[in-house]
């Protein structure tokens, strides 16, 4: 297998962020908000509001649970807006339409239904999207397997411990805190990270633009996202230095391009956008034929020759790639070149 190896460079867009929103100042700001809240609380008639706020939040979360979810409607709207700026819609669907937010919610609630296998490892071996090969004739048969991918595989005891720690935090799962002291603190669970992160996104959006993130026009959302990425969130040492934004980016990619059985990649439009076949077993790309004691390839998905859409009258005619794609290639070459080989 060919593996690309690159030096790790700190992520982040490098744009200036107002100092009060930098993660270094989170603690200070939080305590200020608490103080302010208390003063308001004592001063005026917000007692009622405050009293209501708790049950409302609780009710929203209860509602989220009923629909099988984790996020409140507000959180979901913010997340959908975020993922849709990470992979925005154009002539192809964006991450929201591809179901990235639903994917993320599926991950965060993987253990929420005790009567159901945790939704961590999709089943195997086949979906029902491809036919079995006919090895007598060396072509696809008419027979299709049933979809086993939707039957999730129960994690082992330690796999469950690991994924519960991932979602709920290592200090919340018995037996998962074994390196917390040595590593300077617990692994914070993704559920907490999303709750806090989405709240901060909306707090920042409201403070800077007067509206919650989802209600802003895309251009403003883009500007804010650059700012959020520039130091609003603390790199998580126990997650390889990822910030909340890095985590949302990673999960957005997963939600767009992983198997649809995980809740994203709706209609497999993520794969279609990339020109990928996706899961292709049990048919694959070559079919052994007993008749000829050799292999046949699939005409439109050839294995040993160039893609048909890059051949014109048999002459190789590469499809041009975008300057973004070409730029990435050049950046990688430049990075590798730093090592002078």
């Amino acid at each position: 297998m060919l593996q690309l190896k690159l030096p790790r460079v700190p992520a982040g867009s490098g744009a200036p962020l107002p100092p009060e929103w930098r993660w270094e100042n989170d603690a200070a700001r939080r305590s200020a908000v608490v103080l302010l809240g208390r003063r308001e609380f004592l001063k005026a008639a917000t007692i009622l509001l405050a009293a209501l706020a708790v049950p409302v939040t609780r009710a929203r979360r209860a509602l989220a649970r009923v629909r099988g979810g984790f996020f409140t409607a507000q959180e979901l709207a913010t997340l959908e807006a975020l993922v849709d700026r990470i992979l925005p819609p154009d002539h192809d669907p964006g991450a929201k339409a591809l179901g990235a937010a639903a994917y993320i919610e599926g991950l965060l609630t993987a253990f929420d239904d005790p009567g159901r296998v945790a939704r961590i490892f999709a089943g195997g071996p086949f979906s029902n999207r491809n036919a079995f090969p006919d090895n007598k004739k060396g072509k696809p048969s008419r027979k299709r397997p049933k979809n086993d991918l939707k039957n999730f595989i129960p994690p082992t005891r330690v796999q469950e411990l690991r994924w519960r720690a991932e979602l709920f935090g290592s200090d919340q799962v018995p037996g998962a805190a074994f390196n917390d002291a040595a590593l300077g603190g617990p692994l914070v669970g993704l559920r907490q990270i999303y709750r806090d992160g989405l709240k901060k996104v909306d707090d920042m959006a409201t403070a800077m633009s007067g509206k919650s993130y989802a209600k802003l026009p895309p251009a403003e959302q883009d500007q804010l996202l650059v700012l959020f990425d520039a130091g609003a969130f603390q790199p998580d040492a126990r997650r390889g230095g990822l910030t909340f934004i890095s985590i949302v980016i990673e999960h957005t990619l997963e939600g767009c391009f992983a198997l649809p059985e995980y809740g994203g990649n709706r209609g497999r439009r993520g794969w279609k956008m990339l020109g990928l076949e996706g899961d292709n077993q049990p048919l694959g790309f070559s079919i052994y034929s007993e008749a000829k004691d050799g292999y046949n390839e699939r005409a439109h998905h050839p294995m040993s020759t160039a893609n048909p859409d890059e051949l014109r009258h048999g002459v190789l005619t590469p499809r041009p790639i975008s300057t973004d794609a070409s730029g990435i290639q050049d950046s990688i070459i430049m990075l590798a070149g730093l090592f002078g080989e």
Binding site: K5, R157, Y288, M303
Partner: protein, 615 residues
Amino acid sequence: MANDDVLGNLTLTEPFDFCIIGSGAGGGTAAHVLTAAGKSVLVLEAGGNPFPGLDQSAPLPFPLHSNDELKYSLRSFIKQDPFLEPRTFRTVTSDAGALMGDVNTLPKAVGGAFQHADAKTPRFNAVDFHLKSAVEALIARTPGLTVPGFGADAASANFADWPFTYADLEPFYVEAELLYGVQGDGDNIYESQRSHPYRMPAGVGMYFALLLADGAKRVTVPGIGALNPHTYPAAINSRFARSYDPSAPDDRPPCVDCGLCSGFGCPNNSKNSPAVTTLRRALLSGNCQLRYNAVVTRLIFNGRVVSAAEYVDGAGNLQTASAHNFILAASAIESARLCLLSDPTGPGLGNASGQVGQNLMFHLQNNVNGFLPQRVHGQRGRAVTHGISDFRGVMPGGEEIRVFTDASGNPRVALGGICEFGASQGQPITEDGSVYTQQLPGNLGLRFGIHLKNAIRDGALGQHLLGLTMQAEDAPQRTNAVDLDGRYTDVYGRPVARITYSSHAFETETRKFYLPYMKQVCAQAGVPSGKIFVAPNDYTLVGPPSSRHIMGTLRMGSDPAASVVDPGGRFHDLDNLYACDGSVFPTASGYNPTLTIIAVALRIAHGLAGTAPAT
């Protein structure tokens, strides 16, 4: 038994004749030979079981493996999870070492790591088994020849000959290729003499591999001439199993080239990994019991005798298993770690030589890559279908070391390794998106937005990256080692493994020698000149080698002062403990190690069983 994580014959009773720790290429192979000889065998496997029904006499069911990037590349379905079982890494013993995400982790599951590889199975060359003597003889008869790690520089490395020859091992290679169904066209001129042809022809070649093969033919290296591309031997069916082995327990189908091969389990059982080949045979014999999710925490021993293996079962309870003999086959890092864990207050089990855990070898992977203008569609195929062995640095036939003349007219050798022709496998999350967003500098503007979408849509990496990976031999060094790092524990409460590893001039000089020719192969394959690059190597990046070829740590040899196990695989210091995985390799050669792990396991197991290899 506290839980039902068990396969095979449940009526077998302790003490077993043999208890094998690990069910992969080494352990699965040994289990087959020993059970076929009527021995009762208990296999303890640390991982879970992706092969439900592996022990049923009815036709073998399909496994739980699937075309699923998330499950394998991101969620560690069968891979050792660094959260549960972390490792630390350092380059020199003067550092303490640091916890790193993935330090040479291998899959842990019934059937072992092989199921997760792309099953490349070349043999070693004949000269590999006596490389030390061969290089020394060459130095003696070649004025002006120096080789790092040899002669005056011998103390910087720890080369040793194997305690047997290629000819001794050849019958076991033959059996290995039968049991594990190895395909190939026999077109590698550097391959050493074989007494049996490949079991079936090579399957369809991948597009980019054929381009690289054509390119290689147009590259000339002084001393070699034009390069000699060949099909890559692989333990993957290109025919039904019973066409090459009428006694195969199942007529498993030919590969369909689904593409998710390297790093994935095989959904249709056409990859001939230990679970569906040797373990399957062992389980059907009636003489084998396999307990999975059984993590061995220590071997209990007294003097020269091991009496039991203590393990944590799938429910988290501590259990013991007793046997007359024990075989370590947990892979080179974990087998050595278990020796150290078993003797926490002493030098380590079987460590009178002081070399347990040392001489750790990985192969120095050298990558020269390029971006082709057209799409390489690496998602169609078996990951690697072709390669060249010219850079192993031996003469055709693999009996002699090649002597090159360097730019100054001096003689030199360059013992590199086989080059795999590879490409991205078209995995959109890990080979495109995550690289752009998490690995490249954020100020490229590709962390999010339309530019990111454009780049992913074009598969800038996933559809255009191809290249050569040289699996170059690395010198055995006593300072490259596994030991225990008590600062961190795994989920079972055991101190973690710490890897210490630095490259030797033996392999870094070889890297420098071949890189220009590797670039030429890319250029001749059609990569524009500005789109070729050398990937920085792991050592330069101060990270653990990304190679999954893990060897050494329990060196095999005749001299108890200089090796850990004897030529029969038995620990010099113990009467009933053996090792039969990559840990016993004295040197690493420059070819993928799995077939040799299997052949060595066959040799050791037949020695224990008193049987002869099948042909």
